[in-house]
């Protein structure tokens, strides 16, 4: 495969001024990341600060109801509430060893922003987070958390005022500040080497899952299931299983309201090849090649592109990608709360909803793992509003 490519997807489509800092990150991945001293320090941060290893939790009630064994990889139990911290600690530590003193990051819902702010604080670095103005309004609690953690939060007023515009803004800032600043990119997309770098730091999810499943059941899971926005939690879960042909790999995209023509985030299913934010992948776009707005009840999946490796895994047939709607995710969230006492993030609820709605594809004895990428506390306002709206429409029906 060509350097930086997964099949025909990936690459490094950036302005010339970003080539030197990307080459610098690539060199650090090669020269610093594999060293024992880096791996030891990162391992200690993940264990003692972030809370790894996370449990692989069996769901007794749902397993009984479904007729096969359902397991949850509990990334929701990590510090700051989601898998994002795996990546931000890794990148922050790498940046520090590269001699950078500051981090810049984009954020959509605010989870990656909070995780970057926390990692920066922990490692004594400055942090600036770019966030679409619309998201700043929708996710004010996370904005306050980032500021408490010492980060500067900049509201991005350009374009659609959401995540994709925050990435544009962060890339522009990185052009100007590359000398002392690392761009802590939040998902397994973007220009080479970010898809590989983020995969490297998130693969701990799949490695732990694999080892623990072997320990508990003596075999590999039947299927691993994860939600896909940009695709970082999913690639982290999938990557260590790609060579295990007997393990089914299922990614779940956000379909929005599910009405015909609705806003959605299903770039793998509904997009076509295109170039955005530095890589060639599948993209929601108009016939003219303009990027279309995305939409989902889950802010963390709300992105019109997707990491290039997912496009490749889909095209090669190794992974399957399906769509789950807002309503199905909300139902799954409620069911997990009541059945197992776990409040999942709306993002992760998409993955769970897929298992609930495809239960017929599994048989007794099958072991199905859902990556519970985050906890749902951050979503309480959205969940309550959605449930109230649903009640309202039922009352009027």
């Amino acid at each position: 495969m060509r350097k930086g490519y997964f099949g025909e997807f990936g690459g490094r489509f950036v302005p010339e001024l970003l080539m030197p800092p990307l080459e610098e990150v690539e060199a650090a991945m090669r020269d610093i990341l594999p060293t024992p001293s880096f791996q030891e320090e990162l391992g200690a941060l993940l264990h003692d600060y972030a809370g790894r290893e996370t449990p692989l939790t069996h769901c007794p009630t749902l397993s009984r109801e479904l007729g096969f064994d359902l397991w949850l990889k509990r990334e929701d139990l990590l510090h700051t509430g989601a898998h994002k911290i795996n990546n931000t600690l890794g990148q922050a530590l790498l940046a520090k060893r590269m001699g950078k003193r500051a981090l810049v990051a984009e954020t959509g819902a605010g989870q990656h922003g909070v995780a970057t702010a926390a990692a920066a604080a922990r490692l004594g670095m400055e942090c600036a987070v770019y966030m679409g103005a619309e998201d700043v309004e929708r996710q004010s609690a996370n904005v306050r958390r980032m500021r408490l953690l010492g980060a500067e939060v900049h509201a991005v007023e350009s374009g659609s005022r959401t995540l994709k515009d925050a990435i544009n803004a962060a890339l522009r800032v990185w052009i100007a500040r590359q000398e002392d600043t690392h761009y802590c990119f939040g998902t397994a997309a973007g220009p080479h080497p970010f898809p590989l770098l983020v995969r490297e730091f998130q693969s701990v999810i799949g490695r732990e899952t694999r080892a623990r499943m072997l320990e508990l059941t003596g075999r590999l899971p039947t299927a691993v299931v994860a939600c896909v926005g940009g695709g970082s939690n999913a690639i982290g879960m999938f990557h260590p299983f790609v060579e295990d042909a007997e393990v089914a790999i299922i990614g779940v995209e956000a379909g929005g309201s599910g009405e015909p023509g609705c806003l959605n985030c299903a770039s793998l299913n509904l997009g076509r090849p295109g170039v955005l934010h530095g890589s060639r992948s599948l993209l929601l776009q108009t016939g003219e090649g303009q990027v279309e707005p995305s939409g989902s009840i889950s802010a963390g999946l709300d992105y019109p592109g997707v990491g290039p490796e997912h496009a490749y895994l889909r095209e090669s047939g190794r992974a399957r990608y399906d769509i789950i709607t807002d309503g199905e995710a909300l139902d799954a969230l409620g069911r997990l709360c009541r059945a197992e006492g776990i409040l999942p993030a709306l993002e992760s609820s998409h993955a769970l909803a897929w298992v609930l709605s495809h239960a017929g594809e599994f048989k007794p004895g099958d072991q199905v793992v859902v990556n519970l990428s985050g906890r749902g506390d951050k979503d309480m306002d959205i969940i309550e509003a959605a449930l109230a709206a649903r009640e309202n429409s039922h009352a009027h029906a």
Partner: protein
């Protein structure tokens, strides 16, 4: 010698840098765009760069980004722009007022959607001589360069203050027309003065490149170039954001260009 290079050398032979104004296509609206285009064409522009709008213009500052957004909201289609240019060239519409060479500046995705071979064909027919695609670095340029070259169109390389001399040489060898030197570590948009590293950047570019050098990003007035030592002065000057702002405020492109031609 490529048409674009010839245009710049011709201006230089008259003892002045070539002038390359940038206009976002159909901005502020279609009628005013064509008025501005004609004034530049007739008023002494050597090359006109026409910006093809994109929803996510990562190398652009607020002025070009906002212009792109407005033009897209008004329903811009690349097909229309190229057809309008072809109509003028082939006598179906008022003929061109001058003979400035034309360059399209746009991001890769809209060009991919249009189809690279189709783009090269239609652009050549419209009288376009080259393209600048800021999100296509030399390493990714192969397929685009090949498609454009089949119709005689140049893919103009961009380099900047953090580009090594060695990389500049690779870009210049692979490129055609001219080499675009970005003056600042930043995005497009006017600045009061040129950054202090411009002389060093231009020096490296001069050693690395046999192509003429066009300096851009941050230029609005010719006096900015006077601040440079003679050996660091560019063969061509590109100005965009200041011109767009001037047009948006109701000013005329001809009047803006006269700042540069001294006419």
């Amino acid at each position: 010698m490529h048409t674009l290079e010839a245009k710049i050398r011709e201006a230089n032979a008259k003892g002045r840098p070539a002038l390359i104004p940038f206009l976002t296509a159909h901005f502020p609206d279609r009628a005013r765009f064509w008025t501005a285009f004609d004034e530049l064409d007739a008023g002494g522009a050597d090359i006109i760069e026409i910006g093809v709008p994109f929803s996510d213009p990562v190398a652009d500052g607020p002025v070009v980004e906002d212009a792109s957004r407005r033009v897209l909201e008004a329903g811009f289609r690349l097909e229309d722009l190229l057809a309008e240019l072809a109509d003028r060239r082939e006598g179906r519409a008022k003929p061109r007022a001058g003979d400035a060479a034309l360059v399209l500046m746009g991001y890769l995705n809209p060009f991919l959607s249009y189809g690279l071979d189709r783009l090269a064909r239609d652009a050549a027919r419209a009288g376009v001589s080259g393209c600048i695609i800021p999100d296509v670095p030399n390493e990714e340029a192969g397929p685009v360069r090949e498609a454009l070259a089949a119709q005689g169109l140049a893919l103009i390389p961009l380099v900047g203050p953090n580009t090594s001399e060695e990389r500049m040489a690779e870009c210049a060898r692979a490129g055609e027309g001219y080499m675009y030197v970005v003056s600042v570590m930043g995005v497009t948009g006017e600045r009061a003065a040129l950054a202090p590293q411009v002389a060093a950047t231009m020096g490296r570019a001069r050693r690395a490149s046999a192509l003429p050098l066009a300096l851009g990003f941050g230029l609005s007035r010719p006096e900015q170039l006077d601040a440079l030592p003679a050996e660091a002065r560019p063969d061509a000057a590109v100005f965009g954001s200041a011109l767009l702002r001037h047009l948006d405020e109701g000013g005329s492109a001809g009047e803006f260009l006269r700042r540069w031609t001294g006419a």
